[in-house]
Symmetry: C7
Subunit: 75 residues, 7 copies
């Protein structure tokens, strides 16, 4: 029997790739996905923060608390 796909598998395939993380406060963080856990806490590297499409900051390493995230997409 084949095991069924799980949502965290998709995040796992994005490790070390650039992803776009969107927050409930509408901020976006684009960076390389270094790690995540079951709470969807996420760590990104080489990060751009964007608000309303504008780059607002460049950041080295960002820890994002899972419960503030709405969606994570590959660019």
């Amino acid at each position: 029997m084949m095991e069924q796909a799980r949502p965290l598998d998709a995040l796992n395939r994005s490790r070390d790739k650039r992803v776009l993380v969107e927050l409930k406060n509408n901020k976006q963080y684009i960076g390389k996905l270094k790690s995540f856990d079951i709470h969807i806490n996420v760590v990104l590297e080489d990060v751009e923060e964007r608000v309303s499409g504008e780059v607002t900051r460049k950041l080295g390493v960002v820890f994002i608390r899972g419960d503030t995230i709405t969606v994570i997409s590959t660019e």
Copy 2:
């Protein structure tokens, strides 16, 4: 004795079909349902984001955090 239907059975029947996921922030994501878990974290493929009925973005793979979802419907 027949086992009673459970809500996740309905999601299971929608695997690999197009579904419409609505978020608390009123964004909609329409795409092929690839996976979900008991927190209702969801992964969609070939996704259109819509806001107020307008397509705002096309995305490859989107991970949606369960606690931001209100309803999931078949189109």
Copy 3:
């Protein structure tokens, strides 16, 4: 000793009957109750979405995440 009634018993008696589910965002979904779980995740069939009393959409099957629900009533 008689066992005391529990809230989920009331939902159980509404299986396959039409119910009205109200959400925190003030949307209403009227449809046949197919299943629910202890998180009050709910699946309805043959659904009408209503906003401010107006029918806004007809939907086949709708999964509603429990934590977005305020009340469920029989019509």
Copy 4:
């Protein structure tokens, strides 16, 4: 040693009596308390919905999700 009173005891004494349930969205539901559980999910019968003191609907049976409730009082 006397056991100390617990909040659910007070709800238990109100079974089959009319109670007033108030929600975070300011709606009020007045009806006969049929059941409740540890999440404070509540079922009322013969219910009046009131908004700003006005009766807005009469309902047979209403299931109210606990996390949407602020206070429950006896009339």
Copy 5:
């Protein structure tokens, strides 16, 4: 070794005394503390509801759901 004080000890010392319970919606309930539990669900007796300092209702017994409470003080 002396055991360290815990927050629920303070509530316990207020049993059968008048307390002021403040809610996230800014309502205040002043009454005799009859019981509480680890979720900080609280039952008051002989209760005055106040909004903006004005008494808005007198109530016999009030069950207050813990997650709606901000602070509880002795008058």
Copy 6:
């Protein structure tokens, strides 16, 4: 091997000292920290409530529900 510091250690060092507790509703409570638990429920004694920098009330003992707290600082 030295054990690593934990956040509750810092609260523990503030027992019986004056702390400033800030709430999500922007109220501040300044008082002597008498107890706290893992939910960050907190009890203060000899308390001043401040709103926008103004002292609005003096209170004897205040129980503050953890999930309403944003930060706790030493004055």
Copy 7:
């Protein structure tokens, strides 16, 4: 087999370094990271509070409740 990186590892590498903690209420706290736990409760030392980019307060030790945090970044 190499163990996979976890988000808390990144926080661990920032111990005793200056970090920027951002809250849901848009306040920022910049200080030396002294400790954190699995709820992402955090303790900072030698802290500057900033609102809209302006330094609003200097604080010695600040305990920040995890569920109020959105992101933590290295400056």
